[in-house]
């Protein structure tokens, strides 16, 4: 399959596909970060995660429309406000969902899966009723259009670079919150031993609620970033949910580093294969490889060594 290309062409192909893979990687990482917190830390399977992401995307879309109508002068900067709004909208919805639904189900992980799936169906229909069944796309500000020419045969789009930069920042932020802050320490304490954490005076119910809300909020930011590279419809979230779960499981559920490594390897494999075969076969091969590796190594790439 390499026969028709010269060495230089192949190099460019790999770089360009590698870059396309990096954008996919950013989406995976952003979605998986929230999920890694909710699933990896709390053990809750949130099948509605994609819908929290789409909420962020719709918030971004509404903000861009608002700016276009009322504040056209500030349009080039709307995205930063939209991201913050998306974080709080998804986070607030997450907090509500935790209070109404999830907190009753911590002891029954398989049942959270069914309940959140029901939630995702309801949210999808709500989006369809409110925003319409058609996909919506945001208008990008001028400075995000176009692409950077690296060499003669290699070009990278600016919005892609922006999304990647954003991903790096958010990842660092999450790592800081989880591993450096006092609150992150409380979260990890509750995860490791709920009863003892409660005994030393941590309000575990509150920690649970805010952890879930943080995970959902990050999903909202992911959705916000998602609007930079694709359009949003009521069911867009569902397309990514299985991939994202695989990313988290493949990385080793409790490990943040593992999540990033697995998002990287999955997205790179997929986008490189995509150049040589049809998109669907590339996806099938990638997913098969992941499932195969998981059968050989069920604990994922980076497993914490814990005694059960």
């Amino acid at each position: 399959m390499f026969g028709d290309y010269s060495i230089g062409d192949l190099g460019s192909i790999f770089v360009m596909q590698g870059f396309a893979g990096l954008i996919l990687f950013s989406v995976y990482v952003l979605m998986a970060l929230g999920l890694a917190i909710i699933f990896g830390q709390m053990g809750v399977i949130n099948m509605a995660h994609g819908e929290f992401m789409i909420l962020g995307a719709y918030v971004t879309w509404m903000t861009s429309n608002l700016f276009q109508t009322y504040l056209p002068g500030l349009f080039s900067g709307y995205f930063f406000l939209a991201m913050i709004l998306a974080f709080f909208a998804s986070g607030a919805l997450g907090m509500l969902v935790e209070w109404v639904l999830i907190r009753h189900l911590y002891k029954r992980p398989l049942d959270t899966l069914l309940a959140t799936w029901g939630l995702s169906l309801m949210l999808q229909q709500a989006y369809r009723s409110i925003f319409g069944a058609r996909e919506v796309g945001v208008e990008l500000p001028q400075w995000m259009l176009g692409s950077l020419r690296v060499t003669d045969s290699i070009e990278v789009p600016i919005n892609g670079v922006f999304v990647m930069g954003l991903t790096v920042l958010i990842t660092i932020g999450v790592a800081y919150v989880m591993f450096m802050s006092r609150w992150g320490r409380q979260v990890r304490a509750v995860v490791q031993n709920r009863i003892m954490a409660g005994a030393v005076g941590i309000n575990t119910a509150k920690v649970d609620r805010y952890t879930f809300a943080l995970g959902c909020g990050i999903a909202g930011v992911a959705g916000s970033a998602f609007t930079m590279i694709g359009s949003t419809g009521p069911t867009s979230g569902q397309l990514y949910i299985v991939d994202t779960f695989l990313v988290v499981v493949f990385g080793g559920a409790a490990s943040l580093l593992g999540t990033i490594a697995s998002a990287f390897s999955i997205s790179q494999t997929q986008s490189t294969l995509e150049f040589f075969m049809s998109g669907s076969m590339a996806k099938v091969l990638t997913l098969l490889a992941v499932v195969g590796i998981l059968m050989l190594r069920p604990q994922g790439l980076f497993a914490l060594k814990v005694r059960k």
Binding site: F39, G43, I45, L101, H104, L105, K107, R108, P109, L110, D111, T112, L113, L114, A115, W117, G118, L119, S120, L121, M122, L123, Q124, Q125, A126, S129, Q238, V242, F245, L246, V249, S278, S280, M281, K283, V284, L287, L288, V290, V291, L294, M295, P298
Partner: protein, 379 residues
């Protein structure tokens, strides 16, 4: 309650009531079109039945039952499609004698894995064996390594996604997104007219009862009790010297085979098979049928399937907007408020009243030896 018997008296009455309902009442009350709809619902009841064994008793939630439903359905559909694409029927194609979608995709010879499906015997064997062996491989790979619970659910879901993408992508070999349509005859017997639909309905009900009896047998045997023990305290069963993995594999395979029989009946009754019954969404919907019926109740699964599908058909006919809200609400309500489903409501509220009304004194309230809400499966 004496569990060692094959069925207790109340269960026998339940089975009889279901039999009267399906064999006498429904065919008398419904026209052929509606009866065919019930036949379609009942194909899902096979899946729900398997999930009672696998999920309710074994504690293994599989979100990939659509895979087995689809494999069984596709095996059957391949046979029917080959029969429908005889050389006389496909004269206008550039290559006569192969299915129409292959011709559209510039395939000129029948692929090798299609050839054995000329034989009905092989097809029936394949309906059982292909999904069975597939389940065996997945089950052995996962359970031997002690992967279970949520991880297993996610991986089966990924398998469902993979198979759907594969079927849709390989249009020339599988019919792609449209699936296999225009299935006509079974060994020269036309499956499309009304009387054939009625015959197929009764045949399906017969098969369903065969599966119900198998499920009853599993449940009341020592095997069924080990499954329950394993669901509640896996480690203790392992320490007692049982091979937990083998029992799980068995439950998973039984569920897969039931689902495959359902799929094959679907292809016969509905006359087509498509990837929209294989993927993640249908697979998870099949779980909700079981959950609504009561994940521990074999008969409940059948009623749950009929009820949810009936609600789906009538709601989505008249209020398409409301259906997804209804289905979503159903998921949440069943999980939060009625973890034992219809069977739980029946056992907790209806049956005691009936007994009091007739004047029979029940020895004890409660409907089975175990319920889901408090004895949640241990991870």
């Amino acid at each position: 309650m004496n569990d060692s018997r094959f069925t207790s008296r109340s269960e026998l009455i339940g089975i009889l009531v279901l039999a009267v309902f399906l064999v006498v009442i429904l065919p008398l009350c419904l026209d052929v079109f509606r009866l065919n709809l019930v036949a379609k619902y009942l194909t899902y009841a096979f899946v729900a039945l398997g999930l009672v064994i696998c999920w309710g008793y074994g504690g293994i939630l599989s979100l990939g039952q659509g895979v087995f439903f689809g494999l069984g359905g596709y095996c059957m559909a391949m046979f029917l499609k080959l029969e429908a694409s005889s050389v006389e029927n496909t004269k206008i194609q550039s290559t006569p004698g192969i299915p129409d979608f292959m011709d559209w995709n510039q395939i000129t010879a029948l692929p090798f894995f299609w050839k054995p499906f000329h034989s009905l015997t092989f097809t029936i064997a394949a309906v059982i064996l292909v999904p069975g062996i597939f389940a065996l491989v997945i089950g052995a790979a996962m359970f031997k390594r002690r992967v279970g619970g949520t991880y297993f659910a996610i991986i089966t879901q990924a398998v469902a996604a993979i198979l759907t993408i594969l079927i849709v992508g390989q249009q020339g070999y599988t019919g792609g997104i449209n699936g296999m349509t225009d299935l006509r005859t079974l060994k020269g017997w036309d499956i499309r007219p009304d009387h054939a639909k009625i015959v197929l309905y009764f045949f399906e009900v017969g098969l369903l009862f065969a599966c119900i009896f198998v499920a009853q047998f599993v449940r009341h045997s020592k095997l069924g009790r080990i499954l329950v023990a394993m669901r509640d305290q896996e480690d203790r069963v392992r320490f007692s010297g049982y091979s937990v993995a083998n029992f799980k594999i068995f439950a998973f395979c039984i569920a897969a085979i039931f689902a495959a029989i359902g799929g094959a009946m679907f292809a016969l009754n509905v006359g087509f098979m498509s990837p929209s019954f294989v993927g993640i969404v249908p697979s998870i919907e099949m779980v909700i049928y079981t959950a609504v019926g009561g994940r521990l109740s074999i008969l409940g699964a059948v009623y749950g399937t009929i009820l949810v599908n009936f609600a789906k058909t009538s709601l989505s006919e008249s209020f398409p907007e409301l259906w997804l809200f209804g289905l979503g609400g159903l998921f949440i309500a069943v999980v939060l408020a009625f973890p034992n489903g219809l069977a739980g409501i029946w056992g907790d509220y209806v049956q005691p009243r009936i007994s009091r009304f007739i004047g029979v004194r029940k020895p004890k309230a409660g409907w089975t030896d175990n319920s889901v809400a408090d004895g949640a499966p241990a991870e």
